[in-house]
């Protein structure tokens, strides 16, 4: 149970950073932290206590195995997050070229 609570706390750290930080890079890091928390949740749900890796060999035949499906899902979602993070960093670089700052409060062309 404590693991799930810590994992949720990690997600909240990401949300807190997203809402309070003004630096573009810190915001990008916060979205990444939220993504890690979500991935960790998936892996935790697939975990079984005292179980082996989910590949059937002669050594572990008949023993309980951890659920392999969440691991496959996490691989996919890591790739997606890589794409989003790369896009965000590219946008941050372009924004820096336009405004010469990473401070989000100084970027005010959109309001209302």
């Amino acid at each position: 149970m404590i693991l799930y609570v810590l994992c949720f706390a990690l997600f909240l750290v990401g949300v807190y950073g997203l809402l309070t930080k003004r630096d573009l890079i810190k915001i990008i890091l916060s979205t990444a932290i939220m993504g890690y928390a979500a991935n960790l949740f998936l892996v935790l749900f697939g975990y079984r206590h005292d179980a082996t890796f989910p590949i059937l060999t002669e050594a572990n035949a008949g023993q309980p195995m951890v659920d392999p499906l969440p691991q496959a899902l996490v691989l996919t979602s890591i790739v997606i997050e890589l794409g989003i993070t790369a896009l965000l960093v590219a946008l941050a670089i372009r924004l820096y070229q336009k405004y010469a700052t990473f401070d989000i409060t100084k970027m005010r062309s959109l309001k209302g």
């Binding site: 997600f11 990401g14 949300v15 997203l18 573009l24 915001i27 979205t31 939220m34 993504g35 928390a37 979500a38 991935n39 949740f41 998936l42 749900f45 499906l69 969440p70 899902l73 996919t76 979602s77 997606i80 997050e81 794409g83 989003i84 896009l87 965000l88 946008l91 941050a92 372009r94 924004l95 336009k98 405004y99 970027m107 062309s109 959109l110 209302g112």
Partner: protein, 493 residues
């Protein structure tokens, strides 16, 4: 079996455009046109020949609980027709509009990826597959919003991408909860197992999905990203985002999850009613003070999505009928309004209503179609918006929610007021314009005229004979949870 081609065709077109087009964007345009016309023909063919039956396609022969299945029923075909219709007109509009921004084939590749993602979301029957397609559509949408390479476009795209990342994380956690509760990712299988699960856990899952997909649909407390992203994007992309993206990723998934999978739990229906009413009123209040035409339209998208959520939250057959009908109508008239805004921007180089003026003589097609669209969105008979709003309001009164009906009427009146402002300042103002930068070409006019004609024609869908063929099967699919489970799992279990 045509179902996988809804994803394969646009993906293939996107890759062929990047491979073959090189520096020539005529090739890119031809390829995109071929793909979209065939998609539209396929989806209309599918909708006409479906006979109210569900087709399930198991990818690479693995059946439903193990493999990923694609599901074709009336709801997904309805969405496919809508997406591909708007996409085709948007492509017609893009050619001139994008040429005056830059001569680039990358736009068309991203555009086709956007279509692939949305079509994928609509046809898939698997929760995680839906997430992946959603991300394909979103990443291309982020890139397309930033396409104009100006400071405010980067800013809007960054904001959109951060909000998209937040909602995707919430949805992913929701998927993790669902998987741990039901040991399955196939939607139909989840729907079957979910009644046996602890109701408190179902409440958590529902809350996570409502927050995640509510963010995508931009209902009121989650709306902050929409006005920036939709007003900064190039006009054809604004119309794709406002017209279909928020519906395919937001409203459609809410329909699928909360009706076909969760079976319309009362507490979430109440929440949808409240969110819908809030979105209607606050969206229109924020819209009425705007002077940037595209920003005004973007705020109206929030308000109109509110009507759809309100109809959805009523959960009566009439309410759902209104919601589904308004879904189509909003796609038609909101895309048309964004094309009008884009055409004015091409001609005058401004989106500020104060700087427009006497455009009725200069741009007869644009101002005429904008009049049609304005009347549609404000709910004046005989245009389509009138009928769908009327259905939703009648359904609200029938279901015993006269207060929500009142908010819907109030929202409609304020919409009328704000579009009178658009017409008064934007198209019938005092300022004379003698030197247009460029005139809208034939394809642009064709795109606008097509949608204007459809705005009038789609109001015929309330007639009983036509309604039974088009809207009623969709409503049946949404309300029939056991039917959905039986159809999808039928062969596999």
């Amino acid at each position: 079996m045509i179902l996988p081609y809804f994803v394969i065709l646009p993906l293939l077109a996107a890759f062929l455009i990047t491979l073959l087009a090189g520096k020539k964007d005529d090739w890119a345009i031809t390829l995109a046109f071929m793909a979209l016309i065939s998609l539209l023909v396929l989806s209309i063919f599918g909708f006409v020949t479906m006979h109210e039956e569900t087709v399930v396609y198991s990818m690479s022969g693995w059946d439903a609980p193990i493999g990923i299945c694609l599901v074709q029923d009336a709801l997904s075909l309805f969405m496919l027709v809508m997406i591909n219709l708007i996409a085709l007109t948007s492509l017609c509009f893009s050619i001139q509009y994008i040429r005056h921004l830059s001569q680039d084939w990358k736009y068309y590749a991203l555009f086709m990826l956007l279509i692939a993602g949305m079509n994928g979301v609509v046809v898939t029957g698997d929760l995680f597959n839906l997430y992946v397609f959603m991300e394909i559509a979103l990443i291309s949408a982020f890139a397309l919003v930033a396409y104009g390479c100006r400071a405010e476009e980067y800013e809007a795209s960054f904001k959109y991408a951060v909000m998209g990342g937040l909602s995707s994380s919430i949805i992913l956690i929701g998927i993790a909860f669902t998987y741990s509760a039901t040991s399955s990712l196939t939607l139909a299988r989840i729907a079957e197992v979910l009644p046996t699960v602890d109701p408190r856990l179902v409440l958590w899952i529902g809350a996570l999905f409502l927050a995640g997909f509510g963010l995508k649909a931009a209902s009121m407390p989650f709306h902050a990203w929409l006005p920036d992203a939709h007003s900064s994007a190039p006009a054809p992309i604004s119309s794709m985002l406002s017209g279909v993206l928020i519906k395919a990723l937001g409203v459609y998934v809410l329909f699928r999850l909360f009706f076909n999978v969760f079976g319309a739990p009362a507490i979430f229906m109440q929440l949808l009613l409240v969110l819908g009413a809030l979105s209607i009123v606050l969206g229109v209040f924020l819209a009425i003070g705007q002077w940037d035409l595209k920003r005004l339209l973007a705020y109206h998208s929030i308000s109109q999505i509110g009507y759809i959520l309100l109809g959805m939250g009523l959960a009566t057959p009439l309410g759902i009928l209104g919601a589904v009908f308004h879904l189509l109508n909003h796609a038609l008239f909101k895309s048309l309004l964004f094309y009008n805004a884009g055409a004015v921007e091409m001609v005058l180089g401004t989106r500020n209503l104060r700087k427009m003026g006497k455009l009725a003589k200069l741009l007869p097609v644009t101002s005429g179609t904008s009049m049609v669209a304005s009347l549609s969105i404000s709910g004046i008979p005989p245009f389509n918006g009138f009928f769908s709003k009327l259905i939703i309001i009648i359904a609200a009164i029938q279901a015993g929610h006269p207060i929500f009906a009142f908010w819907a009427v109030l929202g409609s009146l304020l919409t009328l007021a704000s579009f009178m402002k658009v017409q008064r300042y934007g198209f019938y103002g005092e300022i004379e314009h003698k030197t247009p930068i460029m005139m809208p070409g034939n394809l642009v006019r064709f795109a606008m005229l097509t949608l204007a004609v459809l705005c009038v024609l789609s109001s015929l869908m309330v007639l009983p004979g036509i309604r039974e063929l088009t809207l009623d099967p969709v409503v049946d699919v949404i309300l029939n949870k056991t039917g959905y489970i039986r159809m999808v799992c039928g062969r596999a279990l």
